[in-house]
């Protein structure tokens, strides 16, 4: 399947928590390519795409964090709203719904990180069929 790995870290709503995580990554020279924080008053989930996901997950677990790794779609489009819209429309037309999404710029392109709320496999197939550019892992 053409997907990439994302790590999710459970965050207590606690001062200094995010800084601890970032510092740990910085000290190991792990680069963050994209980050997203979902939160409530009580807790949050930090989602990360980094230059070395396995190393990052291991490091953060060892630090005592609850870390999980899962697969998400990474769709590369031109860096404009029209292309963004086209990609979402294509997925919607194929029957996919989205649990969460965040974006970042890489090599002059816009990358959409998408976790479908139904099947990841179906979403991946739909994206391929609609001719969207899926990124598989990072080199």
């Amino acid at each position: 399947m053409k997907t990439i790995k994302q790590i999710s870290i459970f965050l207590e709503n606690q001062r200094g928590k995010l800084s601890d995580i970032l510092t740990a990554l910085k000290n190991e020279n792990i680069e963050i390519q994209a980050a997203s924080v979902a939160d409530t008053n009580e807790f949050g989930i930090l989602r990360l795409i980094t230059s070395d996901q396995k190393k990052a997950a291991k490091l953060l677990s060892a630090q005592g964090n609850l870390v999980s790794m899962n697969e998400v779609l990474a769709i590369q489009v031109e860096p404009d709203t029209a292309s963004f819209t086209d990609a979402i429309d294509a997925l919607t037309a194929g029957g996919c719904t989205i649990s969460y999404l965040y974006t970042f710029h890489k090599d002059g392109k816009l990358v959409l990180i998408i976790r479908p709320s139904n099947s990841l496999e179906i979403a991946e197939r739909v994206a391929s069929e609609k001719g969207l550019t899926l990124i598989q892992g990072w080199e």
Partner: protein
């Protein structure tokens, strides 16, 4: 030895005979305690003499003894025999005021070892077992108390002591340990240490856990049994009575037999100090019948329990105590509602998404008391809505149990402070406390 009992005569003694046995021992204990500066004047005032004791009912004539008495007479004020006949002392930490000291003669240590060996035998441990003790060897009675008893049983005993889970994992693996003595919260922590080494605790040689010294729910026991693939037996002791070896569950796992040849058991209303109707919840009050250095009469344990009615299928005639419902001094009054930490624990343990650590914080916000329950998540997840629903569901179930709505906060590993001793469960930050 192939018997079902360590001491069949004592353990299965008919009730009438057992009570007569208690009367004889009570008389003897009074005689010893006449040598105590603390008890002698009280006995004189109340007309208590060995000859005046005719039945177990006479216990009602005795004065109560409390932890404060032990503190006020620190260190040796209650002793009944000269210090040269005392061979050991154990002491509790003095986090609130003076520590307390409990003295033991050679005979006391001997009887204590025998009682705890009886308890071990009762849950199926034999001299072929290898028993590893995770309690600290020091002032805490869970160390030496278990050590001497296991040796009395004839088991190979591993005095590994508290902390250092990695070392425990190595010992269990290398020695083929078959039984562990630990506090319930450590049972789960040690299991996690095995998992970190890539070993499923169910694949170890451990078949029995003796758990105690920390109140725990039936759900927590079940969880411990599941993760270890072993039987876990609730064991009760307290340093004032000797240490571990006061009461233990038999293999029926339905209530702890309290060794009544060694103690007179009363269940009293903590307010009125009158007996509660049989089978109802009250404070456990104990009188030692087989100790000489420092016998205690009507000692208020503060533990809340009840006597299970009826006979036990195991054949032992000694009364059974229900799982402790907390301590009378653990009770929190929040917004006028009486709440015990164990009620909250019972609910949290029903959620497989949670690990075993939790912390209840009560604080004053404006004019109101507010309760926050922090519960440790067992596993990481990317599923945000699952966590939100879990929070809601825990809140709802807690509200059903304690009748007020706490703020539920999920936390990751290591946020809740842990200690090698008893886990801290309640943090009361209210102005008036």
């Amino acid at each position: 030895m192939n018997s079902k009992y360590w001491n069949e005569e004592i353990e299965t003694m008919p009730r009438k005979q057992l009570e007569q046995f208690q009367v004889e021992r009570l008389k003897k204990t009074v005689e010893i305690a006449m040598g105590s500066e603390f008890y002698a004047p009280k006995f004189k005032e109340l007309g208590i003499t060995p000859e005046s004791i005719k039945s177990v009912e006479d216990i009602k004539r005795f004065p109560f003894t409390t932890k404060n008495d032990l503190r006020a007479t620190y260190p040796f004020g209650i002793k009944s025999i000269p210090l040269e006949k005392v061979v050991r002392l154990h002491s509790s930490s003095g986090t609130t005021g003076n520590p307390t000291v409990i003295l033991h003669s050679k005979k006391d240590l001997d009887e204590w070892a025998d009682a705890m060996a009886r308890s071990m035998y009762c849950i199926g441990l034999r001299n072929t077992d290898i028993i590893q003790n995770t309690s600290g060897y020091g002032m805490f009675t869970g160390g030496l108390g278990i050590q001497y008893a296991a040796e009395r049983l004839g088991a190979l005993t591993v005095p590994a002591g508290a902390g250092n889970s990695k070392r425990h994992v190595k010992f269990i693996t290398d020695f083929g340990t078959t039984a562990l003595h630990c506090i319930p919260s450590y049972a789960t922590r040690l299991a996690a240490a095995f998992e970190e080494e890539g070993i499923d605790p169910r694949n170890t040689t451990v078949h029995t856990l003796i758990i105690g010294a920390e109140p725990h729910s039936e759900a927590q026991r079940k969880r411990i049994e599941e993760i270890w693939g072993a039987k876990a037996y609730n064991n009760f002791g307290m340093s004032e009575m000797c240490g571990p070896g006061v009461a233990i569950e038999c293999q029926e796992q339905n209530g702890m037999h309290i060794w009544e040849d060694n103690y007179i058991v009363e269940i009293l209303d903590p307010e009125t100090l009158e007996p509660v109707p049989e089978g109802e919840l009250g404070e456990l009050v104990l009188t030692t019948l087989n100790r000489e250095a420092m016998p205690l009469f009507r000692y208020r344990t503060r533990d809340l329990t009840r006597i299970l009615p009826g006979d036990c299928p195991c054949g032992r005639t000694h009364k059974r105590l229900a799982r402790f419902q907390g301590r009378s001094d653990d009770m929190m009054i929040v917004k006028g509602v009486n709440i015990y930490p164990i009620q909250i624990e019972k609910i949290l343990m029903q959620f497989p998404e949670l690990a075993s650590d939790y912390l209840i914080t009560i604080e004053t916000v404006g004019d109101n008391d507010e309760m926050t329950v922090e519960a440790e998540l067992a596993q990481a997840t990317d599923d945000f809505s699952m966590l939100q629903n879990l929070t809601k569901e825990i809140t709802r179930r807690l509200k059903d149990e304690i009748l007020l709505t706490p703020r539920v906060k999920l936390v990751g590993k290591g946020v809740i402070p842990q200690s090698d001793g008893k886990a801290k469960r309640v943090n009361d930050l209210r102005n008036n406390h």
